[in-house]
């Protein structure tokens, strides 16, 4: 009797307590609220754009931009289109990000290792470098580097000279730079071939070693390829594929070499030191995450210091280091948008001028945001793939 009522009761759950009904209703309500909100914004938008005669098209991208961009990796002048200007901005972002990432990684590695040093003084210097940069806003750091240093450098005739030679003056940084001669193409091709061959040889020989256990000297063979093939390319190009372009003072300015503007240099230095202090902490954390037992075990089986570092510590530390490291790279790329405040014209700064010039805020914003999003998502994708590859094999 009682069992019967229980069964009957469970058959007729009231609607407001049936989980499926509740979930379905919640879905409907949230959809309606969301769509309603978006719809309301769209209606407002259409009304306002109609009033002001704006249309949501990207056709303006073909119109001439009409504003100069102070530095560009591709040929650009104000008569070219908004689209080209946007591309110039994007390339400027990529340029400062890539160089910044390389420098920040090197400096971060150095500081992180110094932080781990048993030498108390060195470790303290690294600590204060990190503490200084982590606790001040990046924008203040950039202002310090730009307005208080690079923008206040002496005129050309009183340039500071650093070893290199590197000349620093109010027009920027002039550094010696290797450039290709007419026959340099041959050499570059040989370097590319060498890299491809070396990677193939490394993977192939390493797989043989992992499956058969025989030593195949994959490291030595790859290194040999990397030296031998470019050497052949060097000879084939007639012996001088590259020459060093050294800046020389001519009249009132330096000619030749590579010039970095004060804006670019300040941004690069600021981003590098700021990110390096975060990377240093990532690297320190990663190395400390390798448990002491691993080191002791490595010593017990008789590995020497180099082998221990190569085979035991680095592979395990890398698992911990890579994900936050990549997210620091992404942060650096996003932070490069602060260049707007010191006048280096990257993606966001060009976007902002375009808004003023073309009077089309929404399409420009969509383009800028989608570009940043694409960079983030691509990085996230690469990170996930990498993570999947290096995951511990559970036994």
């Amino acid at each position: 009797m009682s069992a019967n009522t229980l069964a009957k009761g469970s058959e007729t759950i009231p609607l407001w307590r049936d989980e499926r009904v509740l979930k379905f209703t919640a879905q409907i309500i949230s959809t309606v609220v969301l769509l309603g909100f978006v719809g309301w914004m769209l209606v407002n938008f259409i009304e306002i754009t109609n009033q002001r005669g704006m249309t949501l098209t990207f056709r303006f991208l073909k119109e001439p931009a009409g504003f100069p961009i102070s530095e560009s990796s591709i040929p650009y002048n104000p008569t070219m289109s908004f689209g080209t200007a946007f591309l110039v901005g994007l390339l400027n972002t990529v340029r400062v990000s890539v160089i910044g990432i390389v420098f920040a990684t090197l400096l971060g590695l150095l500081v992180g290792l110094a932080r781990l040093s048993t030498n108390v003084l060195l470790s303290q210097i690294a600590l204060w470098f990190i503490e200084f940069h982590r606790n001040i806003p990046l924008l203040v750091l950039l202002f310090l580097w730009y307005f208080a240093f690079f923008n206040r450098l002496p005129p050309v005739k009183d340039s500071y000279t650093l070893p290199g030679p590197i000349y620093m003056n109010q027009r920027g940084l002039y550094l010696a730079w290797p450039r290709l001669t007419e026959t340099g193409g041959v050499f570059i091709v040989s370097v590319i071939i060498a890299i491809i061959l070396a990677v193939i040889a490394w993977n192939f020989l390493r797989r043989i070693r992992e499956t058969t256990g025989k030593s195949t000297y994959f490291g030595a063979v790859s290194l040999g390829i990397m030296i031998l093939v470019p050497a052949i390319g060097w000879l084939a190009s007639g012996g001088s594929p590259l020459y060093l372009d050294i800046p020389i003072l001519q009249g009132f300015n330096y000619r030749g070499g590579l010039r970095w503007t004060p804006e670019f240099t300040a941004l690069l230095v600021g981003l590098t030191t700021y990110t390096a202090s975060f990377i240093a902490e990532v690297i320190r954390g990663g190395i400390q995450a390798v448990s002491r037992g691993q080191v002791e075990a490595a010593r017990a089986v008789g590995l020497d210091n180099l082998q221990m570092l190569n085979l035991i510590i680095i592979p395990q530390a890398m698992r911990v280091i890579i994900p936050p490291l990549i997210s620091q790279y992404l942060n650096l790329t996003k932070n490069s948008s602060l260049a707007l405040a010191i006048g280096y014209q990257e993606l966001f700064a060009v976007g902002k001028i375009t808004i003023n010039q073309a009077g089309r805020p929404v399409p420009v914003f969509i383009m800028v945001m989608v570009t940043y999003l694409a960079m983030s998502l691509l990085t996230a994708l690469a990170l996930n793939l990498y993570n999947r590859r290096i995951q511990f094999v559970e036994r």
């Binding site: 979930k23 919640a26 879905q27 949230s30 959809t31 969301l34 914004m41 769209l42 407002n44 938008f45 009304e47 306002i48 754009t49 009033q51 040093s117 048993t118 030498n119 108390v120 003084l121 060195l122 303290q124 210097i125 503490e131 200084f132 982590r134 606790n135 001040i136 806003p137 990046l138 924008l139 203040v140 750091l141 202002f143 310090l144 307005f147 208080a148 240093f149 923008n151 206040r152 996003k334 932070n335 948008s337 602060l338 707007l340 405040a341 966001f348 902002k352 808004i355 805020p361 929404v362 914003f365 800028v368 945001m369 940043y372 999003l373 960079m375 983030s376 998502l377």
Partner: protein, 402 residues
């Protein structure tokens, strides 16, 4: 038969010279590193000290300290930010008494700082005796709050409620003023500035972002597809773009999507932008906390007959939020530093004030380093003490010790 008992003693603590030899000069390359470090430290300190006390000209900083604190806030109405500060000090003291160790470094730091500010010998007409008295009253109020908080009568939840109440009072009534109350005339946000805006934006956006972030984190884990997809899209979209683009979006684009007659205050727009930005990061922090709650907890809660809502509010969230407090403090510090970005959309926070002081007098053009270093030091001190407090908090909560 003689038994030889070898006495084992702990080694004698090394003398200073032995310590030096063992730590700094153990090998030849260690010795090189030591000498190299000493040279760096010597020249950095020497250069810095010499610059601070001789070369540097601190006039732009000392000429009007009030500008850095409150911006152009009308001087006759200065008692309002002053009262807000006193109220905050009292509540910090109260929290120190109730929650103890992890508020302690920050409370002592704030009291000490304001005490020093009150007594600093600066010959500027703007710092009147009244201003100094307000500063000096803060350490006293912190201590009073501490004593009161230590008594049994004050409970944690009262203090939380008081914080919320005081926050609303300060932000909605005291600082902006109202039309209806005679002695509180309206003060437009365009004249707010300096540290006042910096702190308001940081505290405001982290507070407002917490509930939104919790909802988004729950939304990301729910089984409702619409809510889930929306949460994921929102979080990834915001996290994928720089803060400055979001601030610009809210300062330029937002107006295009609202009814034509509506106008949102500039500071409020920045606050919304920062809140939205912070909410996405909060959501990811909270998600980490949610994942850290063992599934057994949910199963046990189901077994004792709680419904989904009860499980989330009484079982899962308290544990998850406790686990993410240190991460939230870290996020607060980075948000505090990120408030400098609102300078770019034309709000005079600390950095903006510095810029406008520099451009106010042609003689200051050469004094950029002084102003920016001063601002950097202000941010540095605040961030450093907050991260110190966060480390204490981690110890107190025992996070990462299990």
């Amino acid at each position: 038969m003689a038994v030889f008992v070898e006495e084992i003693r702990p080694p004698n603590p090394p003398g200073p010279i032995t310590w030096l030899r063992q730590n700094l000069f153990s090998t030849w390359y260690n010795a090189i590193l030591t000498i190299f470090s000493l040279v760096i430290i010597y020249f950095t300190l020497l250069g810095l000290i010499r610059w601070i006390f001789t070369t540097a000209d601190w006039r732009p900083v000392t000429i009007s300290p009030l500008l850095f604190l409150v911006g152009q806030y009308p001087r006759p109405e200065l008692w309002r930010p002053g009262l807000s500060l006193l109220l905050t000090s009292f509540l910090i003291g109260l929290s120190w008494g109730v929650w103890g160790s992890f508020i302690q470094p920050f409370a002592i730091f704030l009291g000490g700082l304001l005490g020093i500010l009150a007594l600093i010998p600066l010959e500027t007409p703007t710092i009147t005796l009244g201003v100094r008295a307000v500063f000096l009253a803060n350490p006293a109020l912190i201590f009073l709050g501490y004593l009161l908080g230590k008594t049994q009568a004050v409970r944690g939840r009262y203090v939380t409620a008081l914080w919320l109440l005081a926050f609303i009072l300060i932000v909605a009534v005291l600082l902006p003023g109202t039309k209806t109350i005679g002695f509180l005339p309206r003060v437009s946000t365009t004249s707010w500035g300096g540290l006042l805006i910096t702190l308001l934006l940081a505290v405001g956006s982290i507070t407002l972002s917490l509930p939104i972030g919790v909802l988004l984190a729950l939304g990301r884990r729910t089984s409702l597809p619409v809510v889930k997809v929306f949460s994921i899209l929102f979080i990834e979209l915001i996290r994928g773009v720089p803060l400055i683009t979001i601030l610009f979006m809210f300062s330029i684009i937002l107006a295009l999507f609202l009814p034509a007659e509506s106008r949102i205050d500039r500071v409020l727009r920045a606050l919304i932008g920062m809140t939205i930005f912070s909410a996405a990061y909060t959501a990811e922090n909270v998600r980490g906390g949610l994942q850290a709650v063992p599934p057994g907890q949910v199963e046990a809660a189901k077994a004792v007959g709680l419904n989904n809502f009860q499980i989330t509010t009484f079982i899962v969230l308290p544990q998850a939020l406790r686990a993410v407090i240190p991460a939230m403090v870290g996020q607060f510090i980075s948000l505090f530093k990120d408030t400098t970005l609102v300078y770019i959309v034309g709000i005079n926070e600390l950095l903006g004030i510095g810029k406008s002081i520099l451009s106010s007098n042609p003689a200051y053009v050469r004094l950029q380093a002084e102003v920016y270093i001063f601002i950097a030091v202000v941010f540095w001190i605040f961030s450093y003490f907050m991260s110190l407090a966060s480390r204490q908090l981690e110890k107190a909560l025992g996070v990462g010790e299990r």
